[in-house]
């Protein structure tokens, strides 16, 4: 059986890939799936004969005539286009139900074939049969019949959504109508079961074939979460007690994707632990992005003011920045940086000196991993000193910047958030949150 147990958590990018697949690819995959399903269904026939003895009795009572049974059955085995053209005269409509009493295996085939075609959207393939086994003979039959009728609307919607083959769609519609005609005969049972049928059918709709045959009670009780299958397409399982038509399922998948991403954003944006709800979170995210952009602008202003002094510092800085990320350590830069540490940086404040000492000395000595950790820890001090108002007043703020400064501090830097604001994104880029997303 196709194993569809894939957690969406691990499939963040997979989901992306699923959505990246063109509609055509998805449809092709779906056709393949359907074919596989049909094959599986045919294989399952032999095990399900017992179910249909009851059905046979019911149909026997209903008094359908048996004409065209063989034709119907044989045609049910054939591919769909043949079924449309040949198999569906009025006689055969009646014979659709008739097949059962006379040959259980064949009837089963018919059911499976017909059902698989009536619900060629794969998840619906099992609905009627599964429902049948749950409720018992009479209800089963009515369900199966009415399932076509009652489900017609939802199926049609689903068909429009999922089906690509217009031929198959037409077949389904015609078949549904035929089933409807057939259903009128057993009307008494339809009405009472119709209400329950939809939810139950669609519930079991989404189950695997393997579940169906084991026990439909348990399959119904399985309150499974939606699952994502890798390369084909998304199989969604309806949760227990929730709406199960295709629209709401798709919406639920979309909502879950969005909530998963919101949770990830909650980790990224500092100070969002207490905020629940999409609206508040979005506000926080917007504020954070705006504050980051304002910070970039502010720093660019700062750098613009410092530009005249870029003469020799930039070269030093360039070497420093080369040495700063420890991954790419080449000896010339290390040599340069170690030379620079002594004369050029005496004027720096202690925090900076500490950083530079780390960069200059540790690079050459420690193995890359150690240096990496050292440099990751060291720059944290810089943002903190930057935030320090005292430190900041030392660094020559031009008068025009005061307004911007105030703005920045008011909006972005709450008292409680100062250090966390800076360190959070920094550590966030280092910590396991990086594992989820590629850079």
């Amino acid at each position: 059986m196709i194993n569809r147990a894939l957690l969406p958590a691990g499939g963040g990018e997979n989901m992306l890939h699923c959505t990246d697949m063109t509609v055509l690819e998805r449809q092709r995959a779906r056709i393949k799936w359907q074919q596989e399903q049909q094959q599986q269904q045919f294989q399952l026939q032999q095990q399900e004969i017992s179910y249909f003895t009851e059905l046979a009795d019911v149909f026997h009572q209903a008094g359908f005539h048996e004409g065209g049974l063989s034709e119907v059955v044989t045609r049910s085995v054939k591919p769909d286009p043949g079924l449309v053209d040949n198999g569906w005269n009025n006689d055969h409509v009646v014979g659709y139900g008739v097949g059962l009493p006379y040959n259980n295996g064949l009837g089963f085939e018919l059911n499976y074939g017909a059902i698989s075609r009536t619900s060629s959207c794969p998840p619906e393939a099992v609905a009627a049969v599964a429902a049948a086994t749950v409720k018992g003979s009479e209800s089963v039959v009515s369900d199966k019949i009415s399932s076509g009728a009652g489900r017609e609307s939802s199926k049609k919607r689903k068909v429009d959504k999922i089906q690509n083959n217009s031929k198959v769609v037409a077949e389904e519609d015609t078949r549904d109508k035929r089933i409807k005609g057939c259903a009128e005969q057993g009307e008494s049972k339809i009405t009472e079961k119709n209400n329950n049928k939809n939810s139950r059918n669609n519930n079991t709709n989404k189950n695997n074939n393997s579940n169906k045959e084991n026990s439909d009670e348990t399959s119904k009780d399985n309150s499974k979460v939606s699952e994502v299958q890798k390369p084909d397409y998304i199989h969604v399982r309806a949760r227990r007690g929730q709406a199960t038509d295709s629209h709401s399922l798709a919406e639920r998948v979309r909502r879950e994707k969005i909530s998963e991403r919101m949770k990830y954003l909650q980790d990224l944006v500092p100070g969002c632990d207490k905020i629940t709800g999409k609206a508040g979170m979005l506000d926080e995210i917007i504020n954070y992005v705006q504050s980051l952009q304002r910070q970039v602008e502010f720093l660019s202003m700062k750098l613009a003011a410092a530009n005249p002094r870029l003469d020799f510092n930039v070269d030093n800085l360039f070497a420093k920045e080369q040495a700063f990320p420890a991954c790419s350590i080449n000896f010339p830069t290390i040599g340069m940086s170690s030379d620079m540490t002594n004369p050029a940086y005496l004027q720096f404040n202690p925090a900076q000196q500490q950083l530079l000492a780390c960069c200059g000395l540790d690079m050459g000595i420690d193995p890359p991993d150690m240096a990496l950790k050292r440099t990751t820890s060291a720059p944290v001090s810089i943002p903190e000193t930057f935030l320090d108002s005292s430190c900041f007043t030392q660094t020559h703020p031009p008068p025009t910047w005061d307004a911007d400064l105030q703005n920045l501090y008011n909006v972005a830097f709450d008292q409680g958030r100062q250090t966390s604001f800076q360190t959070q994104p920094f550590t966030g880029s280092i910590e396991a949150s990086n594992l989820k997303m590629e850079m």
Partner: protein, 165 residues
């Protein structure tokens, strides 16, 4: 798991390193171009603080976009915008006006569709290239964009601190 962590850290370091190197190179270039025009005169009066600020800001965003590469939607959109901007600046003013008009009409069409800017729309305006994204993708791009902005800020801060002191 450990290997993943090292890869992640290497990626983080990688992005910071790439951004830092690109940004510094562009700063140098700006400095040299400023020198060419300014000469002995101090650069403050020569080019204008605002223009210089904007140039540095553009250089920062360009460096970040190039460091990320075309892997992300927002970086692609940023690069596209920067390339257009460069092209526009290079061409005559007439063409510049024409392209501005085009841009304006496009924006107007977008404004008609939404009556009140919802939060998602505000976010779309903030994240480059956000117009052509649905909410799901938008959130993911926002997360990556936030990470890159944060690295940008830290690198620029360290540079500024080192320069000014």
């Amino acid at each position: 798991m450990a290997s993943k962590h090292t890869i992640a850290t290497r990626h983080a370091q990688g992005i910071r390193a790439r951004f830092a190197s690109r940004f510094l190179r562009s700063l140098l270039r700006l400095r040299r171009s400023g020198n060419r025009f300014g000469g002995s005169q101090s650069n403050d009066e020569g080019i204008g603080k605002r223009i210089r600020t904007d140039r540095i800001k553009i250089a920062a965003y360009a460096a970040m976009a190039r460091a990320v590469g075309p892997r992300r939607t927002w970086s692609r959109a940023l690069l596209f915008k920067l390339r257009n901007r460069a092209r526009i600046h290079g061409v005559s003013r007439k063409r510049c006006l024409v392209s501005e008009k085009k841009r304006v009409t496009r924006n107007k069409v977008v404004a008609i569709s939404s009556r009140e800017p919802s939060r998602a729309d505000t976010l779309r305006k903030l994240v480059p290239g956000g117009d052509s994204m649905d909410t799901c993708v938008l959130l993911e791009e926002t997360a990556h964009y936030i990470k890159c902005l944060a690295t940008q800020v830290t690198v620029m801060q360290s540079i500024a601190d080192r320069l000014l002191l």
